[in-house]
């Protein structure tokens, strides 16, 4: 009996040890898989996939529940072959994503693909934990806030009752005092009225009699009005510092500053046309078809980006555009009078003026305002000091024309542009 039990005990021990060892081995191999999978995922998948969100391709969370590992490996290796072979699940995905085939990753081994799947599963678990914990934390927080508010309200109520009671007692005491001293109060009131009346009248009389003082007061008033009037008139039509409220809280600080997106990416007219041009909303959608800023809105779409989606009639869930776009009505800030001609490309492309020279530190402006006065004096001051870059074919012509004049050659109006349509018909 003893023998048997000891043998059994040893057996159990060895089995349990081997099990632990096996478990440890699988755990480490799993961890390695996840690590390798993370690197492979970053290199091959993030262009089109996110774990928790549908982007170009489907959200990957839950893919192991939807398909077997075998199916996933074969799909990732060559989805096109599966679609052509008529696999129903493969064809369904192909149809759902407008017949956009996924890249064939034939260069990945089965083990590599399995480690990517392991990584996605690992992220899935993390995501589920995260979803569970912040919800609980959030609930706790919100109930905490509620408790705080209730206690605050009760405290205020008690305080208010206390104040009412105290004030009531004070009024009662004062009323008693008034009743006791009625006669004395009336006498004092009468004398006070007559005194203040006579004092005001005396002051006015004395002031009006002193001509110098009156003259001085009038002079000061005129000077004040003149200064205010002068300044107001000089600022008529000058919109320096103008910062209107825009329909979308677009931050140049984020886009031009932190993201380092070139000004001309959006204002593409600046280097080739008269106008710098306000980008049409499709330019915004180049990035915002994936960027939703949902990290800062508890997984929901940012309300400002939602305005953009409304403008282009984009449905972020189906990722399709509707047929009812509504333009964004931006408020114009820089507005040169129509009688003054200004050309952006001349300044940006030819003169090489930086945007910031006129528009100020635009890459730090959360909300844009007009930096420069855009007055004629402001233009003229800059033109007086700006040196012309003479390496320009335009000036070669000019110099040539002057050489001809010096030599005494004949020059007609036509030779210096007299036949250009715009000289007469503008």
């Amino acid at each position: 009996m003893r023998n048997i039990s000891s043998v059994l005990g040893r057996l159990a021990k060895s089995i349990s040890i081997s099990l632990v060892l096996l478990f440890a081995v699988t755990m480490t191999s799993n961890a390695q898989d996840v690590k390798e999978g993370a690197a492979l995922f970053k290199a091959n998948c993030t262009t089109c996939h996110k774990i928790d969100k549908k982007v170009t391709g489907p959200a990957l969370a839950g893919m192991s529940a939807r398909h077997s590992e075998e199916w996933l490996v074969s799909w990732i290796k060559n989805s096109k072959a599966m679609i052509d072979a008529g696999d129903p699940a493969a064809v369904a995905i192909y149809e759902e994503y407008n017949k956009m085939a996924m890249t064939a990753f034939t260069h990945l081994s089965d083990d590599q693909i399995k480690s990517i799947i392991a990584y996605v599963q690992d992220e899935e678990v993390k995501l589920a934990e995260k979803a569970a914990s912040p919800a609980a934390a959030g609930a706790g927080q919100s109930s905490g806030a509620n408790n705080f508010m209730i206690f605050g309200l009760i405290a205020i109520l008690i305080l208010a009752i206390g104040v009412v009671v105290v004030l009531n007692r004070v009024t009662r005491t004062l009323e008693k005092v008034i009743v006791n001293n009625q006669a004395a109060i009336q006498a004092a009131q009468a004398s006070n009225e007559s005194f203040s009346e006579s004092r005001n009248a005396k002051f006015a009389k004395a002031f009006l009699k002193n001509k110098k003082l009156v003259g001085f007061a009038v002079l000061m008033l005129v000077a004040l009005l003149a200064v205010v009037g002068w300044r107001t008139m000089w600022n008529v039509g000058v919109h320096e510092g103008y910062q209107p409220v825009q329909p979308i809280k677009f931050s140049h600080q984020i886009h031009a500053g932190v993201n380092q997106i070139d000004c001309q990416y959006c204002h593409g007219g600046a280097y080739k046309s008269k106008n710098a041009s306000i980008p049409s909303a499709n330019v915004c959608m180049n990035c915002h078809n994936t960027v939703t800023a949902s990290d800062h809105y508890e997984g929901e779409l940012s309300p400002e980006i939602a305005k953009l989606y409304r403008a282009v009639d984009f449905n972020p869930d189906t990722r399709e555009y509707g047929s009812n776009p509504r333009p964004i009505e931006w408020v114009r800030i820089h507005n040169l009078p129509d009688f003054a001609y200004f050309n952006h490309s001349q300044h940006v492309s030819v003169a090489g003026v930086e945007c910031q020279t006129c528009h100020g530190p635009i890459e730090t402006m959360e909300e844009v305002y007009q930096y420069s006065p855009l007055t004629m004096k402001w233009c003229v001051d800059c033109h007086k000091t700006t040196e012309v870059n003479a390496d320009n074919a335009y000036y070669d012509q000019l110099i040539e024309a002057h050489e001809k004049l010096k030599k005494g050659e004949k020059m007609t109006a036509a030779m210096i542009g007299g036949l250009e349509c715009g000289k007469c018909h503008y």
């Binding site: 103008y242 984020i254 932190v258 990035c287 990290d295 009505e329």
Partner: protein, 216 residues
């Protein structure tokens, strides 16, 4: 009595002036110089063009826009049509049929580089390695506090040395001019169409520069 009064008045008056000046100085120093108000304008109609600006509200049209979309099937003067559809078949066809019409010159390449830096580099990186500014971790600090901005999914690298694969098959460094042009025109995956930002000549200049980056 009268003299007394005046002395007091003068003092009061001077005091008032001092207070007024101080108040004016304080008030005028308030704010950061920005205003929600456009201020006074003299003859506003001189600011507004007689013709409509392209981006101006226009009640003459049903959709209140001045810039109307051209009717279907029309081609504006000077507009080059791109005769390839946004399908995998036409992508392959563009890859074999289209050649860059521009000669590889230093000037074209320089312009291509500039256009690439302006229009592509924020995602693709200055060297086309898929490491542009918006694919990296970055933070902003503004009126809503300090926070991290979302990373844009990084595109694959063009460079031969990195050996990245295109999502439509083949190595990124083997993409032909026509395929690159097709992708600029229609966009692909996370990338949007850049047809409205670059005209055909500019697109070909960008293609030329990208093909230089492929060699790296």
């Amino acid at each position: 009595m009268k003299g007394n009064m005046l002395v007091m008045n003068k003092k009061n008056f001077l005091g008032t002036v001092c207070v007024a000046v101080a108040l004016a100085a304080v008030v005028s120093a308030c704010g950061d110089g920005t205003t929600r108000d456009a201020g006074w304008e003299f003859s506003r109609n001189m600011y507004d063009p007689i013709a409509y600006n392209p981006d101006q509200l226009n009640n003459n049209f049903k959709n209140n826009q001045t810039a109307q979309i051209p009717p279907v099937g029309t081609t504006p003067i000077g507009f080059e049509r791109f005769e390839f559809e946004n399908t995998p078949e036409d992508y392959q066809r563009a890859g074999t049929e289209l050649k860059n019409p521009l000669a590889v010159t230093a000037e074209n390449l320089a312009q291509g580089e500039h256009l690439f830096l302006v229009n592509c580099a924020m995602c693709h990186g200055a060297e086309g390695k898929g490491d542009g500014a918006i694919t990296k971790d970055r933070f902003v600090e503004d009126s809503r506090g300090r926070r991290q901005l979302e990373n844009f999914p990084p595109p694959p690298s063009y460079a031969k040395s990195t050996g990245s694969v295109s999502s439509r098959g083949g190595a990124m460094s083997d993409l032909t001019a026509g395929k690159i042009y097709h992708t600029i025109y229609y966009g692909l995956n996370a990338m949007g169409s850049h047809a409205s930002q670059l005209n055909p000549e500019e697109r070909w200049k960008v293609v030329m520069y990208v093909q230089e980056l492929q060699k790296k």
